[in-house]
């Protein structure tokens, strides 16, 4: 399904794009450190019942205005700035975030719990457990990612490889520049340890929250789902079998069903 791409500019002056799908109650999606993918089956599935706004995070698109976002507070406020720019009126959107996007959505919700309806954290980053150290994606080579991010590494490899030929200088440069901007931006809240003390602020959240996780998540072990649930007053955990960290791409049908059942 193709999305309508809407250009926005926030009050801070950060430019970006929002991919809009479907109609219904507004649902705002925050992507992970990999960005928005050419196919987003979970968003397609959700768009049957909701108006889905997928925000392309600064640094992940073409507009080079990400420099003004430096720390976690900047990131969370930018999320709210984007929602303001969408002009949703009085409607309080559901926030759904995956991985880094989940970390941002949780932080936004802790800052302004009355600004949203329900919260869905999908394999969300933002906490640290010494017993489950998060593998360092910033030191990984491209070929090492699939195994960590997917329950089934063959499935992951076919998803992640865009068929580009990196022995070609220009293709390599494009990849490096894209990566430098995307993961360079993500690193501001995820490097070297993906913990900006969100755990201290989650007590503020009373919204109904679904913590949705891949049962085979090798990046953020399911113990992190339990930790989120223990820190958020009104949260329930749901594990999806045969899915790793890239749950929205590995088991989109099951993820769609779980989120719809929760949001109602």
């Amino acid at each position: 399904m193709s999305a309508e791409v809407r250009a926005i500019s926030t009050r801070r002056g950060v430019d970006g794009k929002v991919h809009v799908r479907g109609s219904g109650h507004p649902l705002v999606w925050f992507h992970g450190a990999g960005g928005l993918f050419p196919t987003e089956p979970l968003l397609d599935g959700l768009s049957a019942d909701y108006q889905v706004f997928a925000c392309e995070w600064p640094g992940f698109g073409e507009e080079p205005t990400e420099g003004s976002l430096e720390d976690m507070l900047d990131f969370a406020l930018h999320g709210w700035d984007v929602i303001e720019a969408l002009g949703l009126g009085d409607a309080r959107p559901h926030l759904v975030g995956h991985s880094m996007g989940g970390m941002i959505a949780a932080e936004m919700a802790a800052i302004n719990p009355r600004g949203l309806s329900k919260l869905v954290l999908v394999s969300a980053a933002g906490l640290w457990l010494d017993e489950h150290p998060v593998p360092d994606i910033f030191a990984m080579l491209p070929f090492e990612l699939a195994d960590v991010l997917f329950a089934n590494s063959a499935r992951g490899e076919s998803f992640l490889s865009g068929g580009a030929d990196f022995s070609d200088d220009e293709a390599l440069k494009t990849l490096l520049i894209t990566n430098a901007r995307r993961l360079g931006t993500a690193g501001k809240i995820l490097f070297p340890v993906p913990n900006r003390r969100l755990s201290k602020r989650l007590y503020r959240l009373s919204n109904a929250t679904l913590v949705l996780w891949g049962a085979q998540d090798k990046l953020l072990a399911p113990a992190y789902a339990d930790r989120f649930a223990s820190l958020i007053e009104n949260a329930a955990v749901q594990l999806i079998p045969d899915a790793g960290h890239m749950l929205p791409y590995e088991q989109p049908v099951a993820a769609t069903a779980a989120i719809k059942a929760f949001l109602g």
């Binding site: 430096e70 910033f138 080579l141 090492e144 390599l172 440069k173 490096l176 931006t185 490097f191």
Partner: protein, 440 residues
């Protein structure tokens, strides 16, 4: 100006096993700590410091140290500690600390203070290096956020220079450092500051930073003079293109591995195994640590400096032979004649005023290091120091220190007995008992 030759010791750990490469993914960042033996290190550190003192004594212009962390080829996380030891046991050569990764010090005023101490103790012999720091050290070992590293470096540089230059106490409201009372105590002898050397890997921003401030640009790679030619050409093209700076060779420094023996064949017999130890074990760095997204600027990536990034760049050392190293210019090796001729060529073709001489490499034993160093000092140095003639003055303190003539010289046997001298108790005579018989 004479060419300055600096005897540099990376301080590699000399006990990496034959199968190091097979059993470990990296010599840096996550090298197993069990491979470090503190008892052996007692001898290793002292031997390396002795060699640096030897280099001072035998006539090198400078002795050099640098900073690496969690690194099997550089066991010197604090070069200032080594330099402090050297300041007390040498008195002639410049102390080249190349350098302190200033984005890592919290607050960076620490560097201003420690470098000032070194300059005072040594009588004005400090050359101060300010590297941005490798991603391995800066980001992975010391946890700095890649995309913010350069900005943090720039702020640290500004703070240190202001702390050295300004006479009044000032408040500093930085993004990374907020200090209400910046008051660098002590300050360096050299005014306005010691010569500043900036180790860089070829980013355009670094070249301009050096030129804007009249700092020396130091290309410290292990690629040798042939591999470094294109990059140094780029630097000098930038100098010419800007046109706002002189072209003194003092603007550039280069690191080069040297092995000197009686003959070319003897050089191979003596040094080959130690060079191969270095290239095949010490440079085994996991590629994932070498370029975290956000560390390099987009302009640098766009400028196409991709050669250091590809996996192949590390793999060229996989089956490296002595012949590859010599023919590729990675090492200048051979008889004094051979080394002399190639060194002169290197200095001219790269247009450098300072050469960092790597004469200890890998697991080279002490006697070979000294043999090579001695031959270099006696049979090479005197013939290559005057390559640049007198077109540029030696008194240019932008590139090299001019220490106090009348400085404390704490090396040598007299210095030791001076430090240990007992006082004559009669000196206290006449000060008498406390007045009032201890009425306090």
């Amino acid at each position: 100006m004479s060419v300055k030759f600096v005897w540099f010791n990376l301080m590699p750990w000399p006990y990496l096993g034959d199968d190091f490469r097979k059993n470990n993914r990296s010599v840096w960042v996550d090298i197993p700590s069990q491979l470090f033996d503190p008892v052996k290190a007692n001898k290793v550190y002292n031997e390396y410091m002795d060699q640096l003192e030897f280099a001072d004594d035998i006539g090198f212009d400078g002795i050099g140290v640098n900073e690496h962390h969690q690194n099997g080829y550089g066991i010197m996380p604090s070069p200032n500690i080594i330099a402090a030891g050297l300041a007390r046991r040498t008195s002639k050569s410049a102390l080249c600390v190349i350098g302190n990764s200033i984005a890592l010090y919290n607050p960076p005023i620490r560097v201003a203070e420690e470098f000032a101490m070194l300059d005072c103790i040594s009588g004005g012999r400090l050359v101060a290096g300010f590297p941005v720091g490798t991603p391995m050290d800066t980001n992975f070992c010391y946890g700095q956020i890649p995309a913010l590293t350069r900005e943090k470096y720039a702020e640290a540089h500004e703070l240190i220079m202001r702390a050295w230059h300004e006479d009044e106490i000032f408040a500093f409201d930085g993004k990374f450092n907020q200090l209400r009372y910046v008051n660098c105590w002590p300050k360096p002898i050299q005014k306005p500051n010691p010569p500043i050397y900036i180790p860089g890997g070829g980013s355009i921003e670094t070249w301009d930073f050096c030129l804007d401030n009249d700092y020396n640009y130091s290309y410290l790679s292990f690629n040798g003079y042939k591999g470094g030619q294109a990059l140094m050409d780029g630097y000098w093209e930038r100098v010419a293109q800007r046109g706002d700076r002189d072209e003194s060779p003092g603007r550039a420094a280069f690191a080069q591995i040297f092995c000197v023996a009686d003959s070319d064949a003897e050089a191979e017999r003596l040094y080959s195994e130690h060079l191969l130890y270095f290239f095949n074990r010490c440079l085994h760095v996991y590629p994932g640590f070498s370029d975290p997204p956000g560390y390099r600027t987009l302009d640098t990536i766009k400028a196409g400096k991709l050669n250091q990034l590809r996996k192949e760049a590390l793999e060229i050392f996989r089956n490296v032979t002595w012949k590859d190293l010599v023919e590729g210019g990675f090492v200048i090796a051979g008889s004094p004649d051979t080394v002399r001729e190639r060194t002169e060529h290197m200095v001219k073709s790269l247009r450098v005023g300072t050469v960092f001489c790597l004469l200890h490499m890998g697991n080279m034993p002490d006697w070979k290091t000294r043999y090579s160093t001695q031959l270099f000092a006696e049979k090479v140095l005197p013939h290559v120091q005057d390559v640049w003639g007198d077109e540029y003055p030696d008194s240019d303190t932008r590139w090299w220190p001019r220490p106090l003539e009348d400085r404390v010289r704490p090396d040598g046997p007299e210095a030791l007995s001076h430090a240990r001298r007992r006082v004559d108790p009669t000196l206290a005579n006449g000060f008498g008992p406390a007045a009032g018989g201890g009425a306090a």
